[in-house]
């Protein structure tokens, strides 16, 4: 079963995605186990990121300074990388690294 989730990039993070803020994506079924944020980050890096991946991911997590919200809640309250994605989840990535 495919998993449909919506992704949003803002605060300057969208600049790494051709300036497109909103993405509705279908994730292919995973053979072994559920989709987690950790898997999603790899998928984003391989399928959506257009430039300078080091400004978005660092190791197997997001670059420090990028905030992540899962259904409008701080991912730090939701299990961070281990959160298991559900259909229709909305994941928001906000960069704090861009000029203010």
């Amino acid at each position: 079963m495919e998993l449909v989730v919506s992704l949003e990039f803002s605060g300057g993070a969208e600049l790494l995605f051709d300036k497109v803020k909103n993405h509705e994506v279908s994730l292919p079924a995973r053979a072994n186990g559920p989709w987690t944020i950790k898997h999603l980050l790899v998928w984003i890096k391989d399928n959506l990121l257009k430039e300078r991946p080091e400004l978005f991911v660092q190791g197997d997590t997001v670059r420090p300074g990028i905030l992540v919200l899962i259904n409008d809640a701080d991912w730090e309250l939701m299990g961070e990388l281990n959160y298991e994605l559900k259909s229709k989840d909305r994941i928001v990535f906000i960069s704090t690294l861009h000029g203010g």
Partner: protein, 355 residues
Amino acid sequence: MPVKCGLCEKKAILKRPKTGDALCKDCFFWAFEEEVHKTIIDANLFSPGEVVAIGASGGKDSTVLAYTLKTLNERYDYKLDLILLSVDEGITGYRDDSLETVKRNQQQYELPLKIISYKELYGWTMDDIVKQVGLKNNCTFCGVFRRQALDRGAMLLKVDKIVTGHNADDIAETVIMNILRGDIARLKRCTAITTGADGALPRCKPFKYTYEKEIVMYAYFKKLDYFSTECIYSPNAYRGHARTYIKDLEAIRPSSIIDIIHSGECMAVKKEVKLPVQGTCSRCGYISSQEVCKACVLLEGLNKGLPKLGIGKPHKVKKLEAQGKIFTDTKNPKFVENRDADKGSMANNAAALDF
């Protein structure tokens, strides 16, 4: 399983970096605003009746600052006259969009707005400057000119104070940069919540203890309209490294940011140590530890076709001056106009050059 707010029964939406508390949206808004209020009261930042210019770039920090100050001014009846003050560096495609954001903020927050341009102040836009100096050194110009532009703009408006959106992350970053550079004079000043006292136009940082994460989350949940981009001219690489370092530390231990600010505050210099005396520029009256301030040197370089002047070693400037090649006119005409407009405060102007 959703986490509950530590103060009420609602669903938490944020883990606070400073305290680790989980808060719901309303409790977060309240905590955020009350902390800024407490900072303002504890440091005695304002007095009733003051005219306060908010340095507004259209970015997240100044947008949230404008919104928060407007809210607190009403809630606690500070009796402040708030004005948005923006600097137009003249960078095509960069400031155009962010100035549009500031103009929308002006409408949304019903605050007066003044935009002051590099062209008006210096006779040069950043685009013109880049054509002269190339992409390598332009951040030097932009940084030096931007700092003064806010002060000069504020003096034209005859305000009592400037507030800027510098947050805890920015200050921790500056502490680290000043330590690495061994700049003890700036290290002493950079954690001060107000700079430029003693008769000069004071500059305050109400977000001194506010984490960037919370500012961005506040803007997100309040749906505040802000603009974010990279400056199209190359970013300040040195600050960039310090920034990455601070963010890496925060990821390991969020309290690091406040701890670094606290260390900066506690740093003391022995009485016997001679710190550079902050005098004023002989050409424009702006605060300077040199006889001629950095902006005047850079500007002289541009006007004399020596764009590298002021980027190299100071003794080169002295040598050229001795040879009568630069600073042949007595005053910088652009700056004099402004000084004449407000003689008293300009001559005493001693706002610090710490950001």
